[in-house]
């Protein structure tokens, strides 16, 4: 086998050193009744060529080369070539968690740069080395708020990503953390701050809003923060479209920011792996879960980096840890760091402005469901047709349309979420606009 670097004679030599006759003797201590008495029912090993062909064939069964207007937490952005050049370096790809700082300064330095950039983008003081993804960062933020405030309840806006809210409920289920949802404004599409105010009470640990929210609408972070803080609760601000940070006022009034970095050159890859972030204010630093890299000096006074504040973590604190989280998403966070290095201060702004322009071109003359300001996503009504019918008509033109919202919002069953990015071309957007204005009858059947 090509991954096993031993000849049979070497195996025999090694067995002899161990005082054994055969490889089977290596597990002689196992009780005979637990041994598997047949080969595993898995096809014999394949050549590299066959493996490549298998996955090429599976890839061909998926959509290929369709322009797509899907967003909703996963966005199509161009991935600069250099991102994979760097991520493919064996020293990054095949290294483990940087437990030994003397031979892991590469990873540690990139994480320190990552933490810095996340602070710069979000307006927070401290960020960890990344989370599994945006969806799992949200409950970790809520758990943090519960620890900080000593309160239990979390209020989450209904226009936070529906799957993120589901993950929040799963995590919270057995931790004595009631989750309550508050409404969105039916006209503007933003969080309903009056409803929030009514539900805020002395047991509220956290208020969670997302901006741009799941409908693409930009939230009033400052107003939400004022309401939360008046009741002694923390404000958690979520984002799924990281490119918006290049243009939108950062959520400086938040206490915790939890988000998803997929937009920063992380491939959609059918939903993962991605990288989440968790950032907070200085005073809450010791309640942050996950890995943190800090600057220090070596014994000769040279600048060095190492994992730090690990007394928060499970391998030290065990059942009293801030979270059970162990890994971060170092390689994915590295991709985001390379992306941000390439685009830099001006590029990220320019990229965000292109997204804004494309989405506003696409939305022109469309029947938008919500009136609030939007970045690169918006909800549109389908002119009396179902969103599924519109998508069928677009598919006939080899275009993947928007995300139908009825699955999560029965009252929006006639609506879809459309997204345009710098990769959306004018001609395809024109087709979407035409089809949405005038869906042919034939497309109704489904």
């Amino acid at each position: 086998m090509r991954y096993l670097p031993k000849s049979d004679s070497e195996r025999q030599e090694m067995l002899a050193v161990c005082g054994l006759q055969s490889l089977e003797e290596l597990y002689r201590q196992l009780p005979p009744d637990v041994l598997l008495d047949r080969p595993l029912a898995i096809e014999p090993g394949k050549s590299e060529y066959e493996i490549v062909e298998y996955f090429r064939a599976r890839g061909a069964e998926n959509a290929n080369g369709y322009p797509s207007f899907l967003g909703g937490g996963v966005y199509y952005h161009y991935r600069p070539v250099v991102v994979d050049t760097v991520a493919a370096r064996g020293e990054f790809l095949t290294s483990y968690t940087p437990y030994q700082p003397e031979i892991a300064q590469g990873t540690l330095t990139t994480i320190f740069e990552f933490q810095t950039m996340i602070c710069q983008l979000t307006g927070m003081d401290a960020a960890n080395a990344s989370m599994y993804d945006g969806s799992s960062a949200v409950p970790e933020a809520a758990m943090m708020a519960v620890r900080i405030t000593g309160r239990n309840k979390t209020l989450v806006a209904q226009n936070v990503h529906p799957e993120y809210r589901q993950v929040l409920r799963t995590y919270a289920m057995h931790q004595g953390m009631p989750i309550e949802e508050f409404a969105f404004d039916q006209a503007a599409g933003a969080a309903d701050l009056e409803d929030l105010e009514r539900r805020l009470d002395a047991d509220t640990a956290a208020v969670i809003i997302q901006t741009p929210n799941f409908f693409g609408v930009i939230e009033n972070v400052k107003a939400a923060a004022e309401l939360a803080h008046k009741q002694g609760a923390l404000l958690i601000v979520v984002f799924t479209e990281a490119v918006s940070l290049g243009l939108l006022e950062p959520p400086r009034d938040a206490d915790i920011v939890a988000g998803e970095l997929q937009s920063f050159a992380i491939p959609p890859s059918y939903g993962g792996p991605f990288a989440g972030i968790l950032a907070t204010r200085e005073k809450y630093l010791r309640q942050l879960p996950g890995r943190l890299v800090g600057e220090t000096k070596d014994s000769e006074g040279r600048r060095a980096f190492c994992l730090t504040l690990s007394t928060r973590e499970q391998h030290i604190r065990r059942e009293k840890a801030t979270s059970n989280i162990c890994t971060n998403q170092a390689l994915i966070a590295l991709m985001a760091t390379v992306f941000l290095s390439l685009y830099g201060k001006r590029g990220l702004r320019e990229l965000a402005e292109q997204n804004l322009a494309k989405a506003h071109y696409l939305a022109k003359d469309m029947k938008r469901r919500f009136s609030g300001p939007f970045f690169n996503e918006f909800v549109v009504q389908c002119n009396g047709r179902t969103p599924e019918a519109v998508n069928e008509a677009l598919l006939q033109r080899k275009i993947i349309g928007g995300l139908p919202l009825g699955r999560w919002y029965p009252s929006l069953a006639d609506c879809m979420l459309l997204c345009a990015t710098e990769m959306s071309r004018r001609e395809h957007m024109n087709t979407v606009r035409e089809v949405l204005q005038n869906v042919p009858e034939a497309a109704h059947v489904r």
């Binding site: 320190f112 799963t170 499970q314 998403q329 685009y343």
Partner: protein, 500 residues
Amino acid sequence: MIRKVSRHITQNEPLLFESSSPGKKGYQLPDLDVPAVDPAEALGAENVRGEIEDFPEVSEVEVVRHFTRLSTWNYGIDLGLFPLGSCTMKYNPRVNEAVARTEGLLWAHPYQPEALSQGAMEIIARLEAALAEITGMDAVTLQPAAGAHGEMTGIMLIRAYHESKGNPRKKILIPDSAHGTNPATATMVGYTVQNIKSNDRGMVDVESLASIVDEDVAGLMVTNPNTVGVFEGDIVRIAGILHEKGAQVYMDGANMNALVGITRPGDFGIDVMHLNLHKTFSTPHGGGGPGAGPVAVKSHLEPFLPIPRLRSENDQWRWDYDRPQTIGRVRAFYGNFGVLVRALAYIMAHGGEGLRNATLDALLNANYIRKLLEPYYQIAYQAPSMHECVFSDDRQAKRGVRTGDIAKRLIDYGFHPYTVSFPLIVRGAMMIEPTETESKAELDLFVDALISIAKEVEENPELVLKAPHSTRISRVDEVTAARKPILRWKPAPKASQAAD
């Protein structure tokens, strides 16, 4: 004598922020093919940010050099053995990287129509089936993002099962040799943790276990082989004791690489377990993730698995969200798909027999190292080793040298250290796990290095205590790092710059 490495030049490199200069750029966007939009007009001036303060501005060539230089400061499996017991890494096959970047897979959107996602869904189904066969379990969810995430999912399944019977129960039993994630997980799922002591062979003490299992116990979390690399020989009896009281047995599958093709958890009484695809199934760890932590269950836990579940309907794969007893979602979308692709490619490359052969080589490598090092280091337990061996620094401690010092000295010999001071039940633990993808030559170099260090401990302990001597930085001040945390770069204050 140090044989594996020689010194060579290492490049210095500032932080990106320090090489930044206004106007440099590493990108060019296409010309906009639609009218530009004024952000303040479209969004309201209050919603538009000013410049991102101190954000880097560098060119493409500087980006490539920056990260390439930094990469050379790392050690990785591509450079040699990475014997980090319990967490170890095997060779990461490059074809896995290539196939994960297949066009139709890399750019698949999780919300694209199911009819146009059949290839991705087929990969998920095939991996689920392969993992069920390997573990001897009935159903698998691929949604959890990492091992600890899988643990949480698994313990939630146990809780949901007990709740369906009317009583969630109170406690989870955890051996004192367990990974720290186990107790942290049980707490997150609302259970109290009761630690159980290991016996003098490093195994679960069956008699004392039997005396504490009652109807308050929801389950046992057991790692098998355990963290001292020993197979829990009484596992069938242990499972029986739990099952008799209606409790469940969870297996931490971190060490599944010792069992593949030899024995199956589903055949020795396990109800639910997780797998670490970045360990047993060779997906790259990338400096600390991404991983993937699939959870495999027996059929009685299947109704509680996270949504959505794959379902076949008229020869088409569908996502099924209508699962009334589900614990819900543990992650958005369907899991770390890109990691799943790599794991399946690994399984395909080996095939059933190949996977078993890989296990045998992993056992052989661990036992070979143990045999050759036993004259020099104190083995923690006499019980036979599976895939890893754990020594104690007892003999070296007499000279004032501890496991952490020996680990640092190994770096000078060109190796990544073993796992230091874990498991906690072994004083001064040195936990060594080589995996199957190491040649005899590499193992011999490693053994020679540790033997040489043992001699240094006797002859010149200072040499070991001050190690490493050959790295670009020496031992770092971790105490100050924690006491006065500096977690982000900030520009030097203007005044002091002038003073410099």
